[in-house]
Symmetry: C2
Subunit: 306 residues, 2 copies
C-alpha cells in the first residue's frame, strides 16, 4: 500500500461521570486524512484545509506521530500528509486527537501493521502532547478503538474497550467560541472531598454497568459529574439552559464534551435524538452566538479507510 | 409461615477500588438467625450466642429493623429473634449488616413479602445506623442481593447487582484485634487530589468491566485503592507482609475488608485460593496475634433459608 485515505472521527471525552477516563467516537463527524509514501525519508505536510494548523512537522499533531513511527521502525520511506479538518481545534471534540490517532493508524497501515492498537495509542499521545501540552489518552483511544473506551490506567497504559447499547445516539452543539484548555483546567478544584470522589466513582461504575446491560435508566442516572461540570459550565454560555432543554425533551444526559465549549447529549433512539437536537438548537438560535450541531450514532469501529 | 431459620452471610465492603460503593457476600461464612411469630405485638430477642450484643430492641441491629417493619405494616403480630453470631462485631466482615439485613429478609418472609429487595436494604440500613452510627448500604445490600453489588447512589438509593466470574474465590484473615470504626474514619484524608479521584474511579470502572467479561487480568490490575488503604493499613499489623505473601502466591488482589482489621484476598480457582490462604496463615503464625481464616466462593444468592 502506497497511499491511504481515512476518516478519523471526532470524539467526546470526560462524558460527565468519566472525567479524564472515558471517551467515545462519533460516527459521521470527523476529519479526512490522506497519507502517501514518498521517496525521500522524513515526513512532509503538503496540504491542510479547514483549520489554521502548523505545517512544521514538530508542531503538528499528525506530523510528530508519523515521524516518531518512522524513526522507531527505521523505515526507509518518507510520508506525505494531507489534512482535511472538519472539526475545528478548540471545539472540545478531540480535533488534535483525530489528527494524531489518524496518523498513527494510517502510518501503521503503510508500514504493514507492525504495531498493536495499544501501541498506536501510545504514538498518538505524542501528538496530543504537542497539540495540548499533555499526552492524554482518552480521545485518541476512542478514535483508535471506537465505541466507548476507558483509560483504566496510565502506568502501565491500560485501555478497556466497552460495549455500546444499540440505540444510543449523541447530539452535539458546538458554540463557535473559544474555551482555553488552560482556563478549563484552572477553574477546577485541585482537591475534592472524599464523598465527592466516591460519588464520581460510583456514577462511572454505574455507567460502565449500564453499557454492558443496555440499562438506559441506569445509564441516565449515572451521567452526573461532580468534578468538572459544576466549575466549567460557567465557561460555556447557556449551558444550564441547554441541559434543561435536552433533559426535558428526553435526553438521557447532557454534559460538557472534553473541556468544552461543545456540549453533548445522549439519547435513546433517533426520534428522541432529533427532538433533543431541535430543543437545543432553539436555545442557541435565541442568542447571538454562532454554533454548529451534529447528531450521530456512536462509532463502533473507530477510524475508517475510505 | 410462623417460623424461619436463615443463614445471613458475612460481607466484604470497599474491596480496594470500591471504597464506600462496592461489596460482596461470602458463601459459607455468616450468622444463623431464627425468627418466630409470637402472639404479643412487638419484638423480643430471646437468645444471642457468639457475641456480646444488646438485648434491648432499640439498640440491637436486628431488633430495630424488625420493629420498624412491624410498625410500617401495622402487622398484628409479634416477632421473637434468636441470633447465633459466627462473625464477631468489629471484624470488618459486616457483622451488624448480617444481623440487620437478615432481620429485614426474615421479617419480610414472615409478613408474606410485602417489600422489594431495595426496600429491604432501606430497612436494613436502620440497623446499620444503630450499630455503626451511619446507615451505610454496601454491606447490607451485599447480604440481600448476593454477588457483587454497587451502591450507585444514596439519593435516591440505587443498588446495581453485578455478575460474578465463576472461578472467583476469596480468602479472609481476621486478626483478633479491634480497629475502632472511628479511628478508621479519622485516619483518612478529608479531601484528595483530583488525579487520585480519577485513578480510584478508573480502577473501579475497570473492576466493573472485568466482572462482566470475566477478565481476571483486568480484575487484578483494578484492585488498587488510593483512598483508604494507604492510610488504614497502618492500623492492621503486618498488612504489607500479608499483601505481599498473597500476591506472590497468585492472589489477584489483597485489600482491607470494610474498615478492617480483616484482610481479603481474591483468587482465581480453589487451588490458588488454598495456596494464598497458606501463605497468609504463615505470616500470622509467626506473630503473637490470634486470627481466624476463611476461604469461600462468592455468595451468589445472598441470604439462604435453612
Amino acid at each position: 500500500m502506497d497511499k491511504i485515505k481515512i476518516f478519523s472521527p471526532a470524539t467526546v471525552a470526560n462524558v460527565s461521570c468519566g472525567f479524564d477516563a472515558l471517551g467515545f467516537a462519533l460516527n459521521n463527524v470527523g476529519d479526512e486524512m490522506i497519507f502517501e509514501k514518498t521517496g525521500t525519508k522524513g515526513v512532509t505536510i503538503s496540504n491542510i484545509e479547514g483549520a489554521n494548523l502548523p505545517y512544521a512537522i514538530k508542531h503538528n499533531a499528525a506530523g510528530v506521530v508519523a515521524l516518531a513511527m518512522l524513526n522507531q521502525t527505521k523505515a526507509d520511506i518518507g510520508i506525505d500528509i494531507q489534512l482535511i479538518k472538519k472539526v475545528k481545534p478548540g471545539s472540545g471534540l478531540g480535533s488534535s486527537a483525530s489528527s494524531a490517532a489518524g496518523a498513527a493508524f494510517a502510518v501503521n497501515e503503510l508500514l504493514e501493521k507492525p504495531f498493536t492498537r495499544l501501541e498506536l495509542v501510545e504514538f498518538a499521545r505524542i501528538g496530543e502532547r504537542v497539540a495540548c501540552g499533555s499526552p492524554i489518552a482518552d480521545n485518541v483511544a476512542a478514535v483508535i478503538y471506537g465505541g466507548f473506551i476507558l483509560v483504566k490506567s496510565y502506568h502501565p497504559l491500560t485501555i478497556v474497550k466497552l460495549p455500546v447499547p444499540k440505540e444510543l445516539m449523541v447530539t452535539i452543539i458546538h458554540p463557535q467560541i473559544e474555551v482555553r484548555t488552560e482556563d478549563a483546567r484552572n477553574v477546577l478544584q485541585p482537591a475534592i472531598p472524599i464523598a465527592d470522589a466516591v460519588r464520581q466513582a460510583a456514577n462511572l461504575a454505574g455507567f460502565i454497568s449500564s453499557l454492558y446491560t443496555s440499562d438506559y435508566k441506569l445509564l441516565s442516572k449515572s451521567l452526573v459529574d461532580v468534578i468538572a461540570e459544576p466549575y466549567r459550565k460557567g465557561l460555556i454560555p447557556h449551558f444550564d439552559t441547554v441541559k434543561t432543554a435536552g433533559l426535558q425533551n428526553g435526553a438521557l444526559g447532557v454534559g460538557i464534551s472534553g473541556s468544552g465549549p461543545s456540549i453533548f447529549a445522549l439519547s435513546k433512539g433517533e426520534d428522541t435524538a432529533e427532538k433533543v437536537s431541535n430543543a437545543i438548537r432553539e436555545v442557541y438560535q435565541n442568542t447571538t452566538i454562532d454554533f454548529k450541531m451534529y447528531t450521530s450514532a456512536i462509532n463502533q469501529q473507530g477510524i475508517k479507510i475510505l
